[in-house]
Symmetry: C2
Subunit: 160 residues, 2 copies
């Protein structure tokens, strides 16, 4: 899982194909990567065991299930804390895991500490999340929101 993997051209074709269709059969895969099905299967298993393929997921467009609003939130944490509590960073990171609206959270360089991608049903839902949950959390100093107007490019794909 942690050793670096050498990928040849065939491996890259396999990864591109499986990032486009994670349920392609080995016969289909074999045809697109120009290899026999059994050799293709062995390479896929090798890639899975090496952690190059960490799993397979169904893609569910949020707007098809009633989550029509996506926002990016830059969050800045409190720099100090009450001495009997855990520090703001640990508190915040633990809280983020429990908030279903937050589908992605990364720590960033720059003036804001964290970037959150938040997926909600509508503006009411967004407003409740920010007012009642995020800003009420003791670790959070403030946040800035940008709403997504349009998806220009969205790929689950790593450009292997």
């Amino acid at each position: 899982m942690s050793t670096p993997i050498e990928l040849d051209a065939v491996d890259r074709r396999i990864l591109r194909a499986l990032q486009a269709d994670g349920r392609a059969t080995y016969d289909q895969l074999a045809a697109t990567v120009q290899l026999s099905a059994s050799a293709t299967l062995r390479r896929v298993k090798r890639l899975e065991e090496a952690g190059v393929i960490s799993g397979y997921v169904a893609v569910v467009p949020p707007e098809r299930v009633g989550f029509g609003l996506t926002a990016y939130l830059n969050v800045r944490l409190e720099k100090h804390t009450e001495s009997h509590k855990r520090n703001p960073m640990d508190l915040f990171r633990a809280a983020v895991q429990t908030w279903p609206e937050v589908v992605e959270c990364v720590a960033l360089t720059g003036e804001m500490d964290y970037l959150l991608r938040v997926v909600v049903e509508d503006m009411g839902h967004y407003s409740r999340f920010v007012m009642d949950t995020l800003l009420k959390h003791p670790s959070v100093e403030d946040c800035k929101t940008s709403f997504v107007l349009d998806r220009v490019k969205a790929t689950t794909v790593v450009p292997v």
Copy 2:
């Protein structure tokens, strides 16, 4: 593809399960959602045809294939253009599709026009992308970069 879909509790359990493991067998799925395999299959096909499941993809962690650096770039476009050319927005959107480093691009509310997620091999690759490609593009006025220090939460999952 465009009609709203009514999802019941079983549909939601199926979506959660397939977002966690897109290659679960129908026997496995059936066990976790408390339904027979054939009924589960019929519901999955219905969700696929309705576009609630738009596809299945293999997940490839960028760092496992040599893409160790992720950055978020806020991009501001030129507000005017040479009259004989297309406007900056159309130029930029078309260019973004051709840049493999840009795995995600959304138009945002707020002072910056676009947010890009950029996945690159290292700082040299990042630097070349920004200096030689992004900032040289006639549609781009300027950009601000934040590098990802740590993934706190990363889910492909819509919280259905």
